[in-house]
Amino acid sequence: MATCKECKFITPSPTGDPSTGICLVDRMQLAETQKTKTAIRGKMVQKSMESCPKFEAGESWKDIKNLI
């Protein structure tokens, strides 16, 4: 399974259609007022799209700390 070590974009993905995925690269540390620490701006991506330069083969999902 191809995954991206930085953005953790994984296919297949959490939509109903395995050809569509979600990119989780865009993260934001939240203000002190918020009780949670991080926001993740998801981006819908297609498996058929050209992968970004960060995309590589591997099993980075095993490092679950950065997933959702």
């Binding site: 297949p12 939509t15 259609d17 395995p18 918020q34 009780k35 701006r41 981006k43 679950i64 959702i68």
Partner: protein, 809 residues
């Protein structure tokens, strides 16, 4: 600690199947291919036969040929796959789900499984159902933004099997009953004079009954295979006399059940387990562990443990058996596509059993079997199965103390449902006779349904679609178009919020977007239901329901007792708080315009921190604040009314059920900034009515008062997460304080509550040194999970929940 050395060993080598980050944690977990291979083989050989017969012969082929196994130390035998590390696959359900698995690293037989998936593609309920939707509708549903993808693509289902009929009758008696039905029908169609309208319906019924016979006979044969295997192992491969004796007893049990009625607790447990495997995992995949276990097993517990006249055993042995059951469930592998694996973050599947409540005669239903089940849960410390406890005023204090003991240890279960409220609802809304209504169990996480010999839920098409309200509100402000995540038109054009000049216009837009999402999801469920009844007959599941046998109907088709509920998943309180902030700051005080708000939301509050804090500090639900609570009341009434406009397959209107599973986590990144002061991509609210993280500041009683203002009788359930102080819960006054809190909760007529009892310090320590916290459990929503199996984003949402001080009131 596990009660015995046996259960300690079994736990130590248990192949847990829970997931993290959408993947199975145990690297040994694989996709088993035998079920898929055998059902495909049977399908090819029987094509042209009636669907019910094809399905029965598929089950027969699986049960005759699938590899069976018995592991060391097991007291309960049987599995859904050829290997304890595996989960089965269901190519007949969804092409997408199958291909998702085929392409994953779990599948070692890629070529064969891809071929099987392609063979089934035109026969799947996915392909059968998709044609009734436009490409735009398919796009909306599959994007998993405003609604959950439909069951015909996720392959997700849930069921409450008729365990009672198997355990009480035995299958051989039921085979006789069905044979008689066929004989009677054959006689009827030969009576003079010929009358087509009165006779022709028997043709379909005869097919259904024949399919039931094939299925039940195959099940008896499958149990006999286990009996033979146990005997062969005992007589040929064992030197330990004690284990040899155990296996010979297991052999005797499998020879006896499910063919005959259960004699004692061991028979009942084994018969129940076989039935569970068949209904939840072998005939088709269905989630859940819905049954009222203490009611079902109590007669056998009495015979074996108390009276000791059938399969006599000590109480400790009974507790050990319940511990074994929990480990069997933990090892049981379920197959879900990635979307659902992420939706159940940290869990294997949604296995929830129900205890407590009252008996049909109105007496307290908690008994020593209830206590033994709770004791086993307390000892073995597994997340699954989760337990729901029906809190009734008549419930005895001893059992409630055992419930408390599990909660204070931080298991997150039992979750607690208001018994009287939920029983009355089954009577009032679904016309269930009172005696039957009193035997309810949760169908899955939160929704009560009847148990017993007939009329239980057979498919999740009866209910259980999901609408995601925060995303619905987001597009209600942007003319139905999703600017943030999909760039798609997800709903009707209801106007741009910049042009809204009154709060009523905001409300109306949300209402219309909700309406669209609700109707789309309901239609997808009912279309799926029709496809299930046409193409996915379940002859065994039908054969154990007295109604299906009597009427010669498949369980997917027969809706003898309607029970339609549909979920509003994680985000309701974001909507309520956002509405309150908009009303107050834009329309009451006129401090900001809708245009300013929309600009700020589109830019994720960038450069507008002061404005964001105004919205963040606006009235929030969960503080007994009339301003926010009034909007909450109106919102929860709105969703009930919107679902009520519709009539579903089973002929009545559905009720909503507000909960979250892990949807509040998964849907956070798909949802733009919201007017409650939340950033884009921040998690949503974690329950169905839990205050937004960090926004309940007035103590636990204020939360209960806010929640009690919602008319719970209009909802099938409303999930409330609460986090309690570990210090107080573990103090000498812990039970008394909690019991007083529960009495307040009950007195206010609130539907549900569940607790996390874990300190922020412990969770933060577990983040740093996870290997030292392998048994630290937390409650997510309708299920519990090991804290260390959650991703950091999810862990933080548990830490962020307000820790309530019960002593503070």
């Amino acid at each position: 600690m596990p009660t015995t050395e046996r259960t300690a060993r079994l736990k130590n080598r248990c192949r847990f199947k829970h997931v993290a980050g959408g993947e199975y944690v145990d690297p040994g977990v694989k996709a088993g291919v035998e079920r898929a291979r055998l059902i495909t083989q049977a399908h090819k050989e029987n094509i042209g036969e009636p669907t019910s017969i094809i399905r029965a012969k598929g089950l027969e082929n699986i049960l005759k040929k699938i590899t069976i196994h018995i592991q060391d130390d097991e007291l309960i035998v049987g599995a859904n796959t050829e290997h304890p590390d595996y989960f089965p696959m269901y190519p007949e359900l969804s092409y997408f789900s199958t291909m998702d698995m085929v392409e994953s690293h779990y599948c070692d037989h890629k070529e064969e499984m891809a071929e099987i998936a392609e063979y089934w593609k035109p026969y799947t309920i996915q392909r059968k159902a998709e044609k009734y939707f436009t490409p735009e509708e398919i796009g909306i549903m599959y994007s998993a933004t405003t609604v959950q993808p439909p069951m015909f693509v996720t392959a997700f289902s849930s069921i409450v099997p008729n365990y009672e009929s198997v355990i009480e009758d035995g299958l051989l008696k039921r085979i006789e009953v069905v044979e008689q039905k066929i004989a009677d029908a054959e006689e009827e169609i030969r009576k003079s004079p010929w009358n087509a309208p009165e006779k022709l319906h028997y043709l379909d019924k005869i097919d259904q009954w024949q399919a039931m016979l094939i299925a039940m006979k195959a099940v008896v044969g499958w149990a006999q295979r286990h009996a033979r295997l146990a005997k062969i192992i005992a007589e040929n491969f064992l030197t330990d006399p004690k284990r040899k004796e155990e296996l010979l007893e297991i052999s005797d049990i499998c020879r006896h059940v499910p063919a005959y009625p259960a004699r004692g607790l061991k028979d009942a447990m084994q018969s129940k387990w076989f039935t569970f495997l068949l209904c939840h995992s072998i005939e088709r995949y269905s989630s859940g562990y819905g049954h009222k276990e203490d009611k079902l097993l109590w007669p056998f517990y009495k015979k074996s443990v108390i009276e000791k006249n059938e399969q006599p055993m000590t109480r400790e042995e009974a507790v050990e058996l319940f511990e074994c059951e929990r480990l069997k469930v933990s090892e049981h592998g379920s197959t879900k596509g990635r979307q659902l694996r992420e939706f159940f973050a940290g869990s294997n599947d949604l296995f929830i059993l129900t205890l407590g409540g009252i008996n049909p005669d109105g007496s307290d239903a908690s008994n020593d079997c209830t206590n033994a089940i709770l004791e086993a849960a307390e000892n073995i410390v597994t997340t699954e199965p989760s337990i729901a406890f029906r809190w009734n005023e008549k419930g005895n204090v001893e059992t409630k103390k055992r419930v408390f003991n599990c909660i204070k240890k931080g298991f997150g279960f039992p979750s607690i449902k208001n018994d009287e409220l939920n029983t009355q609802q089954l009577i009032k809304y679904f016309n269930v006779p009172e005696e039957i209504a009193r035997d309810w169990a949760l169908v899955l996480c939160m929704s009560p349904g009847i148990t017993g010999r007939r009329g239980t839920q057979k498919t999740r098409s009866e209910g259980g679609s999901d609408v995601y309200p925060a995303k619905v509100m987001e597009i209600a402000l942007t003319n139905g178009f999703d600017e943030f995540f999909t760039n798609m038109q997800l709903g009707p054009e209801t106007g741009n919020a910049e042009e809204f000049t009154s709060f009523d216009q905001v409300w109306e837009a949300v209402k219309l977007q909700l309406r669209y999402a609700i109707e789309l999801s309901l239609r997808s469920k009912d279309v799926g239901r029709i496809m299930e009844s046409r193409y996915l007959c379940c002859p065994f599941i039908s054969s154990i329901d007295d109604g299906c046998v009597e009427k010669g109907l498949d369980g997917n088709e027969l809706a003898e007792v309607a029970n339609p509920w549909h979920n509003i998943i994680g985000g309701s309180v974001v909507v309520v708080d956002s509405m309150a902030a908009i009303k107050k700051l834009v329309f009451d005080e006129k401090k900001y315009s809708m245009k300013e708000l929309m600009d700020a939301l589109r830019n994720n509050w960038e450069g507008k921190e002061e404005m964001r804090l105004d919205f963040w500090n606006a009235p929030k639900f969960g503080n007994d604040d009339p301003y926010a609570d009034e909007i909450a009341t109106k919102y929860y009434d709105l969703i009930a009314d919107e679902w009520k406009r519709n009539t579903t397959y089973s002929g009545t209107f559905p009720l909503p059920l507000a909960q979250s599973v892990a949807g509040y986590i998964v849907n956070g990144p798909k949802t733009n900034a919201t007017a409650n002061g939340r950033h884009a991509g921040e998690a949503l609210d974690d329950g169905g009515i839990s205050p937004y993280m960090g926004c309940d500041k007035n103590g636990p009683t204020a939360v209960l008062k806010s929640v009690s203002k919602i008319n719970g009788s209009k909802h099938k359930g409303i999930l409330l997460n609460q986090r309690l102080s570990t210090v107080l819960m573990n103090s000498d006054a812990g039970f008394d304080l909690w019991h007083a809190y529960m009495k307040t909760w009950h007195g206010l007529g609130i539907d549900h509550v569940q607790f996390n009892v874990i300190s922020s310090e412990e969770m933060k320590a577990a983040q740093i040194e996870p290997e030292k916290h392998t048994d630290t459990l937390v409650r997510i929503a309708g299920y519990s999970a090991k804290f260390i199996d959650l991703a950091r984003y999810s862990q933080d949402t548990i830490i962020a929940r307000t820790e309530q001080d019960l002593a503070a009131g």
